[in-house]
Amino acid sequence: MRSLEPKKLLTLITAHAIKGIVIEKLKSRQVGGYTMVDATGVGAFGVQSGALDSDSNVLIYVILSEARLNVLLADFDELMNRSYRVKVIVTDVMILPRKKPSVTSAG
């Protein structure tokens, strides 16, 4: 049976309008896998109703190691310094990894 492995779950909440910028940051650090979900909500700048792209948020989930996470956190810190509004949430998770191919076959 596979064993659980500790990983980091990076959750990003941002406006639909700048999801492209966020995804480019992920791709620049060779993060090829992520899950994106449309979101609505309310924040400091009013309602994000989801009815228009300019009025919508997205949630982006990325699972990665701590080493790669720290590099990305520096990137998002820089984006936030430039006034881009991104919520960055880090959670410790345990995941079942993909099974490695077995070396021997059953006899």
Partner: protein, 332 residues
């Protein structure tokens, strides 16, 4: 022909908009699925695009068309040029640039509403106005990004930092802005539909008229219901807004409309085209421009520019502005 302008309030589409406002005001749980709303907005753009293209195929490319498009382009540059220094009296360079871009650009839904209004009044208008809608989207954004870049550079110098040694630029270059603006889904659909309408002409249009023609008013009403709810919710959540921005949101559209009407009259445009252009000049973008500005001018507060365009100027234009601009034709 110039009937009582208050007949606009008897238009089902406008009444559905008011219903949406009321539903939001009483905190009704009436809700439209987001995907439905997005579908209808795409449908409306497709319909006006194709109808505009068909109208162009009939009228041909006349000199009056180029005059109208010239006025459209002029207003797209003029509005941000004069509103930016006005806004700087009250706010920082970033918010001034963002609001100037918003008001220098246009609202497709307002464009659809004025088209419907003119159809109801029996006033003809040119199919090329859809092209005017497209060309008015971009110049204001480019100007705003340049103004924001200038503000950023001044800020960095004030902080004693060399902007070249710090990564202070936004993620967007002019080329990036042009790409984002012209490849935006709504623009692609509108221009594509216009081209298709122009190609297939009146005969080809008959095959899809039941979809893009007969269903149009009903779906417009449904869409404006959702817009009314959006406006109402945003209005309800809006924090106390600076009276300056409040006044700006209502006064500047009228100023822009009056100037455009005068210019259109001087250029000899038809009544319908004059009102279309005036309404475009009076409108503010809350779809394409806010998306570009969020990425290109992240320092600006969407609670200001987006709320002004959606919660203040848009309902003003739909309920009061359009009939007012039509009525002002009497004075030109």
């Amino acid at each position: 022909m110039r009937s009582d302008v208050f007949s606009v309030l008897m238009d089902p589409a406008v009444l559905f908009f008011l219903l949406g406002l009321m539903a939001a005001a009483v905190r009704s749980n009436l809700e439209m699925p987001a995907q439905i709303s997005k579908f209808i907005s795409l449908y409306l753009l497709m319909s006006i695009g194709i109808k505009g293209g068909v109208a162009l195929s009939v009228s041909g490319i006349q000199p009056e068309i180029l005059t109208g498009l010239g006025i459209a382009l002029l207003m797209a540059f003029l509005v941000p040029a004069y509103t930016y220094p006005l806004l700087r009296l009250r706010t920082d360079g970033y918010n001034a640039a963002a609001v100037a871009a918003t008001y220098g650009s246009v609202s497709a839904v307002t464009f659809i509403a004025v088209g419907q209004f003119l159809d109801n009044q029996g006033v003809a208008h040119g199919g090329h106005m859809a092209v005017a809608l497209v060309i008015m989207e971009v110049p204001a954004v480019i100007m705003a990004v340049l103004l924001a870049a200038m503000t950023r550079s001044i800020d960095e110098k004030r902080k004693g930092r060399d902007s070249a040694s710090h990564n202070t630029h936004s993620e967007f270059s002019i080329k990036g802005i042009l790409h984002e603006s012209f490849t935006d889904g709504s623009i692609v659909l509108l221009m594509g539909s216009l081209f298709i309408g122009f190609l297939v002409g009146v005969d080809g249009y008959q095959t899809i008229k039941p979809f893009t023609g007969d269903l149009f008013k009903g779906l417009l009403g449904f869409f404006l219901l959702e817009m009314g709810m959006m406006v109402g919710r945003r209005f309800r959540e809006m924090q106390v807004i600076d009276p300056f921005f409040l006044g700006f949101a209502f006064v500047i559209p009228v100023v822009n409309a009056c100037f455009t009407l005068a210019l259109s009259h001087w250029a000899g445009l038809s009544d319908g085209d004059a009102v279309m252009l005036a309404t475009l000049a009076a409108s503010a973008s809350y779809i394409v421009v806010p998306a570009v500005v969020r990425a290109a001018i992240p320092e600006a507060n969407p609670g200001i520019y987006f709320t002004m365009a959606l919660a203040l100027t848009f309902p003003f234009n739909v309920i009061i502005g359009i009939p007012l601009y039509f009525h002002l034709l009497n004075y030109f």
